[in-house]
Structures are given as C-alpha cells and as structure tokens.
C-alpha cells in the first residue's frame, strides 16, 4: 500500500540526487564551452565579422560572379548525383551485409569505412591513376570515348568514393533491428517479397536512408582533397567551390574568399539542422515501435 508514494518520492529524490551526487558538472561543462569557443566559435565568428566589413555590392560581386555561380552549380549538382548514387549503392551494400552470408563478408564490412580512414589526397591521386587514359580502368574505357578523369565525371566519382560509408553506416544498424515477424506476417497475408520490401521494410529504413543521403551530400559539398586531383580544375567547367576560395586566397583577395566561405557555411549550417531533424525523426520512429 505504501509502496507507491515511496517509489514516487524515491524517484524524485533520485532525480535531484543526479545533480548533487555526480561531481564535475561545472568543470566539464565549463571546459567544453571554453574549448568549443576557442577552437570553433571564435574562428568562425572571425569569418562572419570579416564579411561585415564588406559592402553589399562587394559581397554580391564576390559570391555571384559567373565563375563562382558555375562553381556552385558544379558543387551542388555533382554532390547531389554522388549522394543519390550513394543512397542506392549504400542501401544495396547494407542490405547484402545484413541479410546474406558469403565468404569474406567481415573483410568487406571493414573495407566500407576505407573512405573515412584513407586521407583524401591519397584517394584523389589513386582515383586519378585508375581513371587516367593509361590507368587500369581508363585504358578499358578510353577506346570507347569515355573519359572519367580531368572533367566533371571525375568530380562525381571522387564524391561517390567520399560519401559511400555514410549511407551504409546509417542504414545498416536500422536494418539489423527490423523485426522478421513483420515480414513473416506480411508474407502470410499474401504479400510478395517485393511488396514486403516496398511496404514493410522500406518505410522503416527510409529515415535512416535519408539521413545517410543528407550526410553524404553535406560531406560532398565541402570536399576538396580528393576532387582537385581528378577534376582538371578548369574555370567555369570543372572548378569546385572550395577551390574558388583557395584561388581567391592565393590572389590575396581575403574579402572575396570570406564572402564565398560564408555562403558555403550557411549551406552547411542548414544541412546540419536538416540532418539533426532527420535523426530526431529516426529516433522517434525506432523508439516508438513496440
């Protein structure tokens, strides 16, 4: 009888005790904020402050010249294509790794993270060596008139390489957690395998797939190291936005570089918020399931 009020009181006491019993809140939060401020926020605010010294006309001239617009177009277009390819290929790889058994599976699973571990410059020169006319892949394709290096194709291929693990690693754990019972129920109710995938499995992994897609897209937009070796870097044709910033810096046009950087930073921030919202949605979905 007295158990209920006691439990409630105990719960309240525990909640209060969490704050009191475990030490180090002020120390760790203080250090976190200080370090975050010094390493990330202060430098980023320098970027914003520098932009404020520009007039609107100067800012506009820097961020909307024809060459810069062409660079945005390439960066966003190539990133979008690469992220779409990654969404399809990543879902396929995650599916195969979770659902099937085959020899060498553990090695393949470990290899998926290679783009996270391999320095981007190394990836860039390796892909270039493969796809150049005398490379392993290039010499097969060159006689057919297919050129994958030193043009826009190269940009897309480098971005596919960079973004692959994001989709696999976000979809994989969700796919592992999907319940076989639901699929059995669907089959017993007469659904074909494709219908089961389309109406039962896919909706449960869709938020994760979208998160992975957004992460691969965000990473691709900022990518520099792997792209510059393979892109050919022709102005108006195959010059990515980060390279525009580098080019302006090399001409000591700090204001122009800053303006373009602020535009990119704005996009990254919006994408970060989108990804956070997607992840919250995904947690609600998985947490809400009985």
């Amino acid at each position: 009888m007295a158990a209920t009020p006691f439990a409630v009181a105990g719960g309240a006491a525990r909640k209060r005790a969490t704050r009191r019993v475990l030490p180090g809140f002020n120390l760790t939060l203080g250090f976190t904020l200080l370090y975050l401020g010094l390493i990330v926020l202060l430098p980023l605010s320098a970027l914003v402050l520098k932009t404020l010294t520009l007039t609107w006309a100067q800012f506009w001239a820097a961020v909307a010249s024809a060459r810069v617009l062409a660079a945005y177009q390439l960066t966003f277009g190539a990133s979008l294509i690469a992220a779409l390819v990654n969404a399809v290929a990543g879902l396929l790889v995650a599916w195969v790794l979770v659902r099937y058994r085959f020899p060498g599976k553990k090695i393949i699973d470990a290899l998926v993270d290679l783009p996270f571990a391999l320095p981007t410059a190394v990836a860039g020169i390796a892909l270039t060596a493969l796809l150049a006319d005398n490379g392993w892949v290039g010499q097969v394709l060159a006689p057919h008139g297919i050129q994958l290096a030193f043009n826009r194709n190269g940009v897309v291929i480098a971005l596919i390489f960079i973004g692959l693990p994001f989709v696999v690693r976000t979809v994989q754990p969700v796919l592992e957690d999907t319940e076989k019972e639901l699929e059995e129920a669907a089959t017993c109710l007469g659904a074909s395998r494709w219908q089961t995938f389309r109406y039962v499995i896919f909706p449960s992994i869709a938020p994760a797939l979208l998160t992975g897609f957004a992460m691969a897209f965000a990473r691709a937009i900022g990518e520099y190291g792997s792209v510059i070796f393979i892109a050919g870097n022709m102005p108006m044709v195959s010059e990515i936005t980060p390279l525009i910033i580098i080019g302006k810096l090399e001409q000591y046009d700090y204001a122009g570089a800053t303006a373009v950087a602020v535009v990119m930073l704005g996009f990254s921030f919006v994408l970060l918020l989108v990804i956070n919202a997607l992840q919250a949605l995904q947690r609600r979905r998985s947490g809400g399931a009985p």
């Binding site: 195969v96 892909l127 017993c188 390279l243």
Partner: protein, 295 residues
Amino acid sequence: MSATRTVRQARAGTTEPAWVKWTLISLALGFIFLFLLLPLAAVFTEALRKGVGAYLEALAEPDAWTAIRLTLITAAIAVPLNLVFGVAAAWAIAKYEFRGKAFLTTLVDLPFSVSPVVAGLVYVLLFGAHGWIGPWLQAHDIKIIFAAPGIVLATLFVTFPFIARELIPLMQAQGTEEEQAAMVLGASGWQTFWHVTLPNIKWGLVYGVILCNARAMGEFGAVSVVSGHIRGQTNTMPLHVEILYNEYQSVAAFAVASLLALLAVVTLLIKSLVEWQFERDQKAAAELPPELPPV
C-alpha cells in the same frame, strides 16, 4: 500439413530467391571492388612501379622525413587535446540535464559539416598577416599561419567532434546508475571516473581515438590553406604527396601516399578488432546468470 506449408511459405517470404540473392551480392561486391579495393591497390602498385629500390629511395628523402615528423607531431598534439575535450563534453552532456543541451550537441558536430577549406580560412583570418591579431603577432615575432601552430589549430578544428561523437551516445545509453552507486559507496569523483566510467567506455574511446588520429594525419584541405607549402618545413605528409604529384614525381608521391594508405588499413583493422571485442563483451554480459532476487 497446412501449418508446415505456412511456415515454409513464411520462411521463403523473409528471404529472396537464390538468383536475386546472388545478383545483389555480386552487384554490391562489384561496387566495393571498383570504388574501394581498386584505388587502394592502385596506391601500392604505383608506388612500386619502378621497384622496391626506387620506393625506398623515395621514402629516404629528407623532405619526406620532415613531412612524416610534422604529421606525427600534429597528431600527437591534436588527438590528446580532442580526447580530453571529448571525455569532458560527453560527461557534461550525457550525465546531466541542462537547458540548451541539444543546441550544444549540434555545435559540437558543427566542424563535421564545415568544408575543410573554410576551416583553414578562418584561422588565416584570425592569425594571418592581414588578420585580426596578425599585426600583433608579427610585432611579437610569433608565427602561427604558414607554420606548425597553424597546422595544429586547423587539425584540431577538423578533428574536433570525433571522440565526443563516439562517447556521447555511448555514455547516454549507460546512464548514471553505476556512477551513483560508486559515489554512494564512498568513491571520490576521480575514483568513480577511473574505475567505473572509464572501463565502460573504453572501446568507444579507442574507436574515437583511432578515427580521430586517421583524420588528423590525413587532413588535407584545412592544412593546405594554413601551411604555406614550405618544402621541408611546413609540409605534412598529404601536402608532400600533393607537391610530389604536381611535380610529376609519381613514384615518390605514391610512396609517401602508400604510408598513409597503410595507416588507413591499420586503422580499419584496429577498428574492426574493437568492434568484435565490444560485441563479445556485450554477449558475455548478456549470458551472465541473472542476479538473485532479494529475499
């Protein structure tokens, strides 16, 4: 009879026909082979194109050695600093409730979505010759940009979230019960951390550290902006690879690159071992007999 048929049907319904299965596996393996395995193999083949002698000669270059040294120093500074930050941030975020926590977590992730080139640029704007405190630094003869400190700062920025990112969800999932029990039994804060929290998060910690280290040693964009590319002085290994490659010294470029590729392979190896060890620990914990109910 009908029950067996339903079971068989259900089992068939949760997997695909063999031809679909093997088509999907071949497609996935083909993609992995083309996009991941071939580039990795190309690095080593290109490096050894002119034989082992040329390979070793390229690695014995004094400029290559200074690049290796600078890369090791940078990682040796950046990784421990971000480790301390990661543990502190995870402790504050996972063990307490406070206002603005979600926003703080987003800010911790921010460097992941900033282009490396922008990350380098912000330090040039702060410490460069025309930067906010550049003139003061020049007057006091302190070099940050186009010198090692700038490289370390840019690396700190890009590797900032790695360890915190691993630890926050792990420590959130573990809750605070074990720490509270330790405190109630009379342990001090440090004792609780060393003997209760740390053993619980050790695999997450190792995981975060190796990924942070791989990125710290391999960062290119951010470091490229602040380094100034002074050969034999401010070149890290990835920058040295770029210079050699642009000078058409292909074998030398791929030789240095092969060291970085080896680092990546070792990173993946340790990462997999940590994951398997973690899974084994989880399974062992799940197989422990249930505790006796209080009498």
